[in-house]
């Protein structure tokens, strides 16, 4: 039984979470300014255009910053501690909150290259997480 918080999926986020179930990471892309953003919005946060489309992300990026959670974010995360919470900067530009999956939390560094992996935590929800790419 998965006890950690799950996303409360809404009409706007449904396509994002549906794609993750199929192990695809989607980003919103703006046809007007040609920039990507995350999380998905109705208006482009860069140029405020409504001319947006979904595009599949490459699933690669680098660690922009991170922390090792020694104290968990509530009891459900306690068995995982210490674990790595990170902001990954995707190669398309946007940053996303995620975990770096590793057996050695001390080895994680800013700027390490990372690749997405898909964690099917329930039949309904797949969380995108990242692993450090082989050098």
């Amino acid at each position: 039984m998965y006890e950690k918080p799950l996303p409360v999926i809404d009409p706007e986020s449904q396509p994002y979470w549906d794609a993750l179930k199929q192990h695809r990471l989607l980003l919103k892309h703006c046809r007007a300014c040609e920039r990507f953003h995350h999380y998905p919005r109705e208006l482009c946060p860069h140029c405020h255009s409504d001319d947006l489309e979904w595009k599949q992300a490459a699933g690669t990026g680098r660690i922009y910053t991170y922390t090792v959670a020694r104290r968990p974010a509530g009891p459900a995360f306690k068995p995982d501690a210490p674990y790595v919470v990170a902001l990954v900067e995707l190669d398309e530009g946007p940053r996303m909150m995620t975990n770096i999956v590793t057996t050695d939390v001390e080895s994680v560094r800013i700027d390490q290259r990372v690749t997405v992996q898909f964690d099917d935590v329930t039949p309904e929800v797949t969380l995108p997480k990242f692993t450090v790419s082989p050098v």
């Binding site: 950690k4 918080p5 799950l6 996303p7 409360v8 999926i9 809404d10 986020s13 995350h38 999380y39 922009y64 910053t65 991170y66 922390t67 090792v68 959670a69 020694r70 104290r71 968990p72 974010a73 509530g74 459900a76 995360f77 995982d80 674990y83 919470v85 990170a86 902001l87 946007p94 940053r95 996303m96 909150m97 995620t98 975990n99 800013i110 700027d111 929800v125 969380l127 997480k129």
Partner: protein, 389 residues
Amino acid sequence: MKKREAVIVGVADVPLQNGKVTESLSVLQVQARAARDALKDAGLSMGDVDGLLTAGMWGVPGPGQLPTLTLAEYFGITPRYMDATNIGGSAFEAFVAHAATAIEAGRCDVALITYGSTQKSEKSRNLAGRPSVLTMQYETPWGMPTPVGGYAMAAKRHMHEYGTTSTHLAEIAVATRKWAQRNPAATMRDPLTIDDVFASPMISDPLHLLDACLVTDGGGAIVMTTAEHARALGRPPVYVRGYGESNTHWTMSGMPDLARLTAAEIAGREAFRMAGIGHDAIDVAQIYDSFTITVLLTLEALGFCKRGEGGAFVSGQRTAPGGAFPLNTSGGGLSCCHPGMLGIFLLIEAVRQLRGECGERQVQNARTALVHGTGGTLSSGATCILSRS
């Protein structure tokens, strides 16, 4: 010359013992006592209040969803100006600005700002994230200890870009404790060293337990009116010389630059421009210290030092008593009190310094003070520049 000039004329906070209100009180009682005492300090009474500004985290879901309505009813007043803008702990610096604008425009004559929390007595705080709905569905599922993890990620990034160290951060905790030792009302007054900070448990790398603020109860109130009214009351006015506010994000992935406090840059620039003074004119500063890194980032953003030089700025106990830059003279959120939202307590301490009421921790000849609040997770910023003349 302005026809009506807004001033702060009364302040009060409720006494704490071991971080808790001294008797068992509801969060409404806490605010009523603070309001009563601040109005007494101003030489005014509740019946004079026609502007009410408040924000908090109490009574949600429930009456706290409409806090000005709840408090106006509870206080037995019918305000003609209200503001419940909740931008986090910086709301109170924004309230001083908003009240000043309202008073100067004639929208109200006596504005009351209140805050209350009984989080320590209720044991209501933990590190769990916010409900995983709307924007937070893209943040909460990954288990960032909240809020410390966001500050930790900012600290990591600042260390990466500028070589800032854990010693730099600990300098801030130690200096702030030295001020608390001079404040009989402060919660934590035992001596503290940099090694003590390092010896405290690591919560979320690179932040130790003693890089984090306290979790306490607390209540405070501020009364504002016109300078003319203050003179008639015979109370020493504190003038509001400049202010500004801004916000950049709430989820951490939305923060434009984790090594830079953009909201504070905007708020501070506006406040200094309005006040028409330079940084050298600031005699004492009260800067939101939810975590040590918050202070370091804010000092840079406000322009007291260059970006990346915050570590050097705070080194050698420069912000401690006797140092060149008196900072968080009550003991701040790190050592005095931190009841969830700190902003009002920074303002109260600044007013007391400008009035010369601070006893052993008094900054000699403090004429001009800067107060900066931070809200959300390094999200919003609001600056006030106050002076006694």
